[in-house]
Symmetry: C2
Subunit: 167 residues, 2 copies
C-alpha cells in the first residue's frame, strides 16, 4: 500500500470511530427526547419512583453535565454554568427556586443543537487530543483519555440516568 | 512518513480505539460489582423501587444480554442461552423458578472472565469487522456497525440498567 493510501486509511479509520461514538451519543439523545415528548411537565415534577429524585432534577443534571463538555473539550464557553449549583453540586430539593421544566427542556434542545454543531466542526484528529482535565504528563502515559473518551463516558452517564427517568 | 510507520500508526490507532471501548465496558462492570458486593442476596430479591423490576431480574437480564455478545461477535458458544426465556423474552415474575441470586452472581463473574479472555485474544482489526446480526450489504453501506459498536451499545445498555439497580 502506498503512503498516500495509508494516510487515507488512518484518516478513514479515525472518522469511522468518531462516527461510532457520536452516533451512540445521538441514539441516547433520541431516546431521551422520545421520552420527554410523551410526558407532561407536571409529570416531570414528580419523583421517578417513590423516594427518588424528581425527573426535573435528572433532566437539569444531564443538561449541566453535558454542557460541561463544551469547556472540557475546549469547544467554547459553557452555555449554562449556573445549573451546576442546583443540579450537580447539590442533591434534589436543595433549592426552592429552580428553572421550570419548560426552560430546562428548551436548554436541553438548544444544548444538543450547539454540541452537534461543535462536533460536526471537529476534525477526527482533534477528537484524539487531550481534554482540559488531564495533564500533559498523564496524557502522554494514557493517550486513551482523549476528547472522544469524554463523549463515550458522558454517553454512558446519560444512559445511566435515562434508565432511571424511564422507570 | 514511511509506509512502515504509517502501517504502525494505523494499527496503534485501532488498538487505542479498542482500549477506549473495552476500558469503558470494564468501568461499568466494576461499578456493578462494587454495588453487588454491598448488598445481601435477600435485598436483590426486592424490587429496586416500588412497583418496579426486582434487582435479581435486572442482574439476570444483564447476564443474558452480555452473554449474547459471544454469539453476536462470533467468539464461540454462548454460556447461558437458557437465561433468555426468563430474563429477556419475558418480564419479571413470569416464572416461579429462576436461578438463585448466588447462581446469577456466579454466572455474572464467570461471564465477565470469559468475555475478558475473548476480548484480549481479538486483534484490533477484527473489532472493525462485521458482527453476526448484520448482512454483508448493510455492512458495506454502514461500516460503523461493526463488532466494536456492539460493545459500545452493550456498555450503554449496562449503564442504563445500572442506573436502575443503584436506585
Amino acid at each position: 500500500m502506498s503512503t498516500q493510501n495509508e494516510t487515507t486509511a488512518l484518516k478513514t479509520s479515525k472518522e469511522l470511530f468518531v462516527k461510532m461514538v457520536v452516533s451512540n451519543w445521538e441514539l441516547q439523545n433520541q431516546r431521551l427526547n422520545g421520552w420527554l415528548a410523551k410526558l407532561s411537565d407536571e409529570r416531570l415534577l414528580e419523583p421517578v419512583a417513590e423516594g427518588k429524585n424528581r425527573a426535573v432534577y435528572l433532566l437539569g443534571h444531564l443538561v449541566a453535565v453535558n454542557d460541561g463538555m463544551i469547556a472540557l473539550l475546549g469547544l467554547g464557553e459553557r452555555l449554562y454554568p449556573e445549573l451546576d449549583e442546583p443540579f450537580v453540586k447539590n442533591p434534589d430539593r436543595s433549592f426552592d427556586e429552580i428553572p421550570t421544566v419548560a426552560e430546562l427542556k428548551e436548554k436541553w434542545t438548544n444544548l444538543n443543537a450547539v454540541l452537534t454543531d461543535y462536533f460536526a466542526g471537529l476534525d477526527a484528529e482533534e477528537w484524539f487530543t487531550k481534554h482540559n482535565a488531564i495533564s500533559d504528563e498523564d496524557f502522554a502515559r494514557e493517550p486513551h483519555r482523549n476528547k472522544l473518551n469524554i463523549l463515550i463516558n458522558r454517553t454512558n452517564h446519560e444512559a445511566y440516568h435515562l434508565g432511571q427517568l424511564i422507570f
